[in-house]
Symmetry: C2
DNA sequence: GCGAGAATATACAGATCTGTCTATTTCCTT
DNA sequence: AAGGAAATAGACAGATCTGTATATTCTCGC
């Protein structure tokens, strides 16, 4: 029997296929059989790599958390050394994301929505992602010279999550610009 | 056969029971049979009042939209005539909501999350709610003397949705205060 | 008391869900 | 070529899902 944590081509392929379907249609809406048919993989292969659908979901969320933050911070790095530019690059990155063809909101917000009980492992995994993102935001705010980095990061985090939700509900990239303008104003106040 | 739109005690009771279960556990997670057992109502009674589960959900969302905005605006009215106080009363109202025992986020955000396809009737119903709330916010911003009421309302809407999501994910009322502080700052800038 | 409309219990259809089991085959390493 | 792990197909269990059909009972106005 294979180790449930080890990486393998089949495991990676299952996670990639499941991710695409879960993100497109929802965690509860997509069944195991649909994933298997789409991936062209046998059912026992899935259950040799993952103990359950729930563990599959959590593995995907944890992977997405790492990828999400790497993509975000990669865009921040590309913005150069100016701390203010770096912070506002977050909102450019959001705008690009919102405009992508397959954009369907934030999978972590959606996971919290689908598993609303705070004690549920999937809910908790999604929460950990939000905490990690806020920590990264706090670093950026501190570097930008905010007097209370955590306070500013909290406000920017609200703008970001609100923008994601609004962009999904209204199918528009405009919330990224609105959030950027508000964030810029708050940053100015927080560093003055 | 009864009219699907008419009000009746059984219909109201079904909607109240379904609302409680849907909000607590999720729209897809709760089955018809669970609602019927909890409400103590026969299956045919439900299908005499609603064509499908989807229609039941939409009816509940539309009712909640009206109740939600009535509750919010009621709190605004109670804040008195000062336009700035009225606008900031929105965030006090949020804090009370976040602190309530049964708080599980915003059912409309969660509906968008569970039915991510923008063409789905449930998704569209949830979007209409968000549009209606933003219109109400715009009125409040205009009354408070904002130079660009729609722009300010957009930013406040992002703060509100972000606060709801964050409060749900972190099980805390703190996002209401953070949003209030940021909103107050943005209001000052927008009226200066 | 009667009759009509509403609600009931119950069974059912047909699909789908997660997860298990078994027997076979494929594939890689030695 | 042989051994062993991994993947396969496919049946299966047992539950659950939405929605339908039928026949009975309840309730209430007249």
């Amino acid at each position: 029997m294979s180790n449930a944590l080890a990486s393998s081509p089949k495991r990676d392929h299952l996670m990639a296929t499941a991710w695409r379907l879960f993100y497109r249609d929802g965690l509860r809406a997509v069944g195991i059989d649909t994933i298997l048919a789409e991936a062209g993989v046998a059912k026992m292969t899935l259950y040799n790599h993952f103990a359950s659908k729930e563990e599959l979901i959590i593995s995907i969320l944890e992977k997405r958390d790492v990828e999400f933050r790497a993509s975000l911070m990669g865009h921040v790095e590309a913005a150069g050394p100016d701390p203010e530019k770096r912070l506002l690059a977050v909102f450019d990155w959001l705008e690009g994301w919102f405009g992508s063809e397959s954009f369907k909101g934030c999978v972590f917000i959606r996971a919290v929505s689908e598993y609303p009980d705070p004690s549920h492992p999937i809910h908790q995994t999604a929460r950990r992602h939000k905490v990690a993102v806020k920590a990264a935001l706090t670093d950026l705010c501190a570097a930008a010279g905010a007097k209370e980095p955590a306070t500013l990061a909290e406000a920017l985090g609200l703008l970001i999550d609100g923008a994601i939700v609004t962009a999904h509900a209204t199918r528009s990239t405009a919330p990224a610009r609105s959030a950027a303008v508000a964030a810029s104003a708050l940053l100015r106040l927080a560093t003055a």
